[in-house]
Amino acid sequence: MEKIIDCRNITKSYANGSVEPTQVLKGITFSVARGEFVAIMGPSGSGKSTLMHILGALDTPTSGDYFLDGKNVAGLSEDELADVRMEKIGFVFQSFNLLPRTTVLRNVALPLIYAGISKEQRVKIAEKALRDSAFPEAAWQYHSNQISGGMMQRVAIARSLVNDPAMILADEPTGNLDSKTGDVVLHTFQALNADHGKTIVLITHEQYVAEHADRIIHILDGNIVKDEKNPHKLVARNEKNIAP
């Protein structure tokens, strides 16, 4: 099966002024196939954030190779990394990171500006992404600060879809939401994975959230300690009555 993520013995160290640099990742090797829904789990300080930054091409590994959709990302320049992020990755952050006082539609279309896509195209693609992430059409013209947290995260999910990425990288996507709203967001991910075949990598420290994925990778102290198929996958309920 085609590998979207192929990490080979990735390490990451930070020089912190002392003699020995701190090694945060100590040789991570794993791969993710197209269409998989993977959760990466670990307590804080385990190195999962650092791994997420490398997987998201926000940072480069100290050593080792990282092939994203067949392209080696290790050792690329800042601008080349920006291109990789634009073409291959859709980000969903814990704190949504929407532009304030800007309409939902504009927020979703934002990444396409940097891809140089024309305005009419941008609107079309953004509308499709909003439909795919089940965002109610009535609220498309709302400003991002007029909608609830759950809706904000769905705007962020729609935004992650517009560049048709090789994978969606979600960093604690339910961390700022109550459990009910969190379920709606998880349902959206499961639907995107099941119905649209999107590859999803979900970073979390919550067992409950991780159990919505097909496969769970456990990280501890910079190493993968467990990598197994999720034996009892949870299916998120979709509460329709979420206020916009």
Partner: protein
Amino acid sequence: MKFNDLIEEVYNAITVNKVRSGLTMLGIVIGIASVIAMVAIGQGTQATVQANIQSLGANLLMVMPGAARSFGTSVSAGFGSAETLTPDDATALAALPNVAAVAPEISGRYQAVYGSENTNTTVMGTVPAYLQVRNVQVDQGSFFTATDVTNSNRVAVIGPNVLSELFATPTNASPTPDMAIGKNILIKGNIFTVIGVTVAKGGSGFASQDNNIYVPLTAAQHYLVGSMGYVSEIDIEVQAEQAMSTVEQAATSLLLERHGISDPTQADFNIVNQADIVSAVSATTGTFTTLLASIAAISLLVGGIGIMNMMLTTVTERTREIGLRKAIGAKERDITLQFLGESLALTFSGGVLGVLLGWGIALGMAYFASTATQVSLGSVILAFGVSALIGIAFGYYPARRAAKMNPIEALRYE
């Protein structure tokens, strides 16, 4: 990132915080407006002063007597006191090439009396050519003729100020010229008949021609000065501006020869070129304009620092937005352009409003305060250029700071 998308992003970012953008822009608006208005006032004043000097007569050379020196001593009795210029000098000067007209003058301050009213004013003995040389026009009646000069007729043409001084009555404070024409006035005890009144020229102080009484040269010499031998000034009107210096040199050598002086430094006369006065006055008003403009430029600089301050605040405030933009594919260049674009948009629109406001102030000054103002294209272009430059200079540092941000740290920023 396409150009029109950049414009849209910039527009969006500025309108999201209208009050702050507006206040920041106000700094530039005030700076530009004051530069435009100050320069307009300075240049307007300069133009007015120059026009006033020009109204004294076009292409004018004034020959004044030098300081009187007694033979064998170096005691100077003061500039203009010598009685060295004669009516014959004037006749000789009139024969020089490129000379349009020559008017010898003899003037002094005398008491003029009509009925119970009297005034002490300048009485100018001259010839009809004075009208042309000194750009004087007669409102009603007529100026005296060459015949009046030849015959030493006691006729007088009075300025409008003299008219109101002498002919005002308790019932009529602003007499009309026809109330004076034909009447006899006494100047230094001699009867002169008023035959005309000149057009008001404005101007103020001693130099105003509106205070003058004009009489024939010979009549002034005969009845007022008591000597036919000298004149106090000879005015020469040159045909064309380009010939001014040629005529000045020719007049100098002619007078030196006529007065029998071989060393030009010992000349007993001075020739004042009107162009010299204009350029001296222009230099003064130019300094004045520069002074006003530099004070205004300081406020423009302060406005620019305001822009930089706001941009730095904005960059800090929007750290996470910058992180997000970088995460979704914005390159350093895109971020730099966006923030530079925002500061440029602020200064540019501030510049447009500032030019309009400054223009308005200049028009207002001209209308309400009757201060002459002149908005020049040069100052408008300069103001625009400076505001664009401020946008780039004060926007570049914050923009680079935004572009250099690490996306990971920017996204984590609280």
